[in-house]
Amino acid sequence: MNKAITVSNITKSYPGVLANSNVSLEVSEGSIHAIVGENGAGKSTLMKILYGMVKPDDGSISIFEKITQLSSPKDAIDSGLGMVHQHFMLADNLSVLESVILGIDNATLKNINLRRYKSEIMEVINKYNLNINLDKTIDELGVGEKQRVEILKVLFRGAKILILDEPTAVLVPQEVEELFNNLRDLKDNGVTIIFISHKLDEVLEIADEISVMRGGVMVNTVDSENISKKELAEMMIGKSLPKPPERQSSVGDLKILSVENLSASNDDGKDIFNDITFDLQSSEILGIAGVEGNGQRELVEAIIGIQEYNSGSIRLKDEIIDDLGIRERLGLGISFIPEDRQAQALIMDMTLTNNIILGRQSLKKYKTKLTTVNLSNATTASESVIGNFDVKTPNANTIATALSGGNQQKYVVGRELEDNPTLLIASQPTRGIDIGAQALIWEKLRSTRDDGLGVILISADLEELIGLSDRIVVIYQGNFVAELKPDEITPEILGSYMTGLRK
Amino acid sequence: MTRMKSKWLVLFIVFGLILTACGGGSDDAAEEVVAEEPAEELDSPATTAAAAAEPEAPATKVCLVLDIGGLGDQGFNDSAYLGYNMGIDEFGVEGTFLEPDEGGENRGELLNLCAEDGNDLIIGNGFLFDVAMTESATNFPDTNFAITDSVIDPANARGMIFAAEQGSFLVGVAAALTTTTNKIGFIGGVDIPLIHAFEVGFVAGVQAVNPDIEIDIKYASVPPDFSGFNDPVKGKEIALAQYEAGADVIYHAAGGTGIGMFEAAAEVSASTGSKVWGIGVDQDQYLTIGGAIPEVQEFILTSMVKKVEVAVYNAIADTVNGTFTGGPVAEDVESGGIDISYTGGYIDGIKDEIEAYRAKIVSGEIEVPSSR
């Protein structure tokens, strides 16, 4: 069989990091080839090299058995490559048709013959069986549809090789199934697909061949028929796979949080969430499941005081906190791990020690008599977090941005657990970090839960949600639509509640 | 990204503001460029002339510190600069002229610097120098100082003052005899007592001829905003409004702002078909502004000439001749330091009446008021 891509002995180093070391890879034409590896294993670098975004220090690349110099994404596109990024690059107010055309022509949209393009695009849609309505605007589309538009975009630009970067990270199981059907159609039509993921079940299901990377090195390429998930995982992390911890908890008696009839609407009067009522006990992890954008983010932000609510009441232990500001609420022992650590939880160019005070400004511990910042207590706390959470850093005075994502996240989680909080709100606590860090964070969440902490957990990783939670509520279009017992459900069932298929 | 963008935003603003703060806009910059040229030319002939005339004796050194507005105001800074150049040409003195920054201790520092640099005569052009020059003249008792429009205490400092109200009276007479609408305008640069003298003299002159004439009095700015001395756009705006309201003669005492008034006169005359007039100030503006902008020349009725150049020239001459004296030196319509110009010939027909008023002022029969 012909090779769509041949990568020979690619090496790429960044200051202090060997991102790709002598990496070779062969992808057969018309196959689905998965590349798996932990964060930092070198997958992204390899893809950036393939797509012409990064120039390798050494090695060569052949596309359709022809040595090709890729010095920009344009070169890659001209050679027949197309990339679907994890984060969609679509403008909400454009129609699907306009989005596909955008950037193809030098002409402005006004001068383009939309009808001619439309018929050409329809041919592509029909050929690959894509199920896209060209007349909708982007903001009307669901996540899965948006992804198909991205795929259509690259196909319409003539791509014969598709690179998909973590395509399932944003999808619920039903959407994943739909994506896989599309990918199979594409494959049948001769398109080569490179599929980057760390979700091994999915990889085993869809891929013909699987390449495993670890620490910048290509460990192995295997046939997906001949390998088990366990073997694959061990190849990937070099040791045996951590599992979401077993639940063996007994939920406590103390009522930590009680939310009553909470409702909020946006400026247009549209409901964000509606009449939400729930309790949280001590030693309990309450999972909130929902497809992104269904109100769960705003709900937890309402609890810490960022999101305003029109009606309802929040009680922390015995105290009604509705009239308190964010700082007062945090001061009462609410801890918050926001979903985007770099944008919401850290000051990237401040030192770790300075970051420990973030969100704890009102804590007596970090003050001195003259309301000045108490750096010595901050240093002590910072060092203790670094020790307890195995944060890999030269010292507490390193700036946050110098740490890897996983270490940043461990530090954030450590900080939020440092001062014995009453309530922890954890939003996507292990998103985008390596398995080692993930396991440690799971372990810490579980042990502090066992010590009495009440936790509200939001996660797009349904296995994580099911594995950690003592109870799961499903939020759909701003309403709680179901309360489930984690040991009675699978990700598929949960997904059907989240998408409103099941009620 | 946003970080970068905001940085550039700031930089942009900063530079915009620095430019505005230092220059008062591109008009100034252009003027200064024009001004530098004669300065360059002037340096060399002055020094060579001095060297040729008396190679053994050091030349007399003169320093002129101009006021805000600087060269190119077609008014009193340019007049002083003219007198300074006349002195240089006549006596081969070595000259330096400086322009101070706006505000601050800078004036005093420049005066001191000139004194330390061995200048024999230091001229501060404008009453704003009074505090600084009093101090400087006290510190350098052997140096001659001269200040325009003010009188200060030190014996080595000459106060060159002008009876601007008398000249304004005469152009007021000319305006009153010229108007057909019986409406006349006055534009002052900045609302300060110095300019009030122009205003009240002018009003007195107009009313001496015909007390029924309406006079519309406007000022371009109020202190500490001194932009009214150098704001042609504002001048044009005010003049257009006054002409619109029926005035057919306007007198300005507003430095560079007056240029706008003459432009307005030309514009209004062209659009309405009936000729309206502007009256110049400080220099014979038929020649200066009219020379620079020929299309406004025919609308310059006359000018109230305040011969700062004569006073400056005299100060240089007295220094060279060793006859310099401190104290007030007043120029008026009798001495000729204050005058009315007949250039252009538009008021030749009423010359006798104007000169009769001059005689009455000289004789003391008419006492022109100088303050409100």
Binding site: V17, G325, V373 | W8, L11, F15, E32, E99, G103
Partner: protein, 360 residues
């Protein structure tokens, strides 16, 4: 940060200065002047005793103005209105300060207090407009500068004008002796030099207060955090509305002190000759000094030195506008190099960190 990186971070202003000197030299050559001779003249004149006193006197208001701007910069607020704030504060302090006479330290304290209160209230208007009306502070402070100029003109000409025979131009009554800050010349034994303003020690104290406020208090921490990452700051409990108003008030408070050096040490009254432009110049100094108390002090000295030493130029036939251009070059270049060096240092820190982690 390592010593090596600290030194690297100092290189930006030095590079900017050198490049600005080179560019200025090219321009001097272009107009037929000898650059070496020009700079020698400037340095020679700028380093005389009198000049040093004058440079220090210039540094005082420039530095405080930079500090006022920097307080805003630290949280990402652009207070372009220091100009109007300090002039208004100085006018009110000068005018009201004459209405009472008490012992000197108390009198001076009250004059300063009036300036601080007036300026910070004026600045607070911009804070209020931003928080409650959504008007960007750049727009509102620029507009407030214009309004301030008009207000000052009105107050000076109509309310506070000391109408006296000899006063041709609007000015306030002179401050009584007790309201004047004595010069420091006796202290340093430099009686033969021009007056060294008594505000210099207060200026240094203000620099220290600024440092403590920004780096050693919770409020300063909130300001810095908000400037670096407003979203994270909000998640940490910072109330951006409250903080914006507080920052504008503090910035305006510092602005109020900008005019105090000239007022208490030289003019003793508000006249139309009271130095304008310091508020804008302070923006440049804050940029050059990267909002750092020591950096801004050096920046203020540099600009003060350039301004003073340029006085000699016209006397020697070189247009003094050269100095304005040079200052502009310095600012333009330094901003570029600060960014280049910031990135370099960041990569170095990441590299150092990953190396050390590797060693452990």
């Amino acid at each position: 940060m390592k010593l090596r990186l600290r030194l690297v971070s100092l290189s930006a202003p030095l590079i900017a200065l050198m490049l600005a000197v080179s560019l200025t030299s090219l321009i001097l050559l272009g107009i037929g002047k000898d650059p070496i001779e020009t700079f020698r003249m400037m340095f020679e004149y700028g380093s005389t005793g009198k000049s040093i006193v004058s440079v220090l006197n210039r540094t005082t208001p420039l530095y405080i103005s930079a500090v006022a701007v920097a307080v805003g910069f630290k949280m990402g607020l652009f207070n372009i209105g220091v100009e109007g704030q300090y002039l208004l504060g100085a006018l009110l302090a000068a005018a009201i300060g004459t209405s009472f006479a008490i012992s000197r330290p108390i009198h001076i304290f009250f004059i300063m207090l009036i300036a601080v209160v007036a300026s910070s209230l004026w600045a607070a208007i911009a804070g209020y407009l931003k928080v409650y009306k959504g008007i960007h502070e750049v727009i509102s402070t620029i507009m407030l500068n214009y309004i301030g100029t008009g207000l000052i003109a009105y107050l000076l000409s109509n309310i506070f004008f000391d109408k006296d025979e000899k006063n041709a131009i609007p000015q306030t009554v002179e401050l009584p002796e007790s309201g004047r800050l004595p010069a420091l010349n006796n202290l340093f034994g430099i009686e033969d030099l021009p007056n060294l303003h008594g505000f210099l020690p207060i200026t240094i104290l203000l620099g220290l207060i600024y440092y403590l406020l920004i780096w050693k208090t919770t409020l300063g921490y909130d300001l810095r955090v908000t400037g670096a990452n407003p979203i994270a700051a909000r998640f940490s409990g910072v109330d951006p509305k409250r903080l914006t108003i507080i920052a504008m008030i503090i910035s305006g408070g510092f602005a109020g002190l900008v005019g105090m050096g000239p007022l208490l040490g030289y003019f003793h009254q508000y006249t139309i000759d009271f130095p304008p432009g310091l508020g804008f110049a302070g923006i440049g100094v804050a940029l050059l000094g990267r909002n750092h108390p020591v950096g801004m002090f050096l920046g203020a000295i540099l600009f003060g030195f350039l301004e003073r030493s340029a006085q000699i130029l016209d006397l020697r036939g070189v247009p003094k506008e050269i100095e304005t251009m040079m200052s502009a070059f310095i600012l333009l270049i330094v901003v570029v190099f600060y960014e280049i060096i910031r990135r370099y240092i960041l990569t170095q820190q990441i590299k150092d960190a990953s190396k050390k982690i590797g060693e452990n």
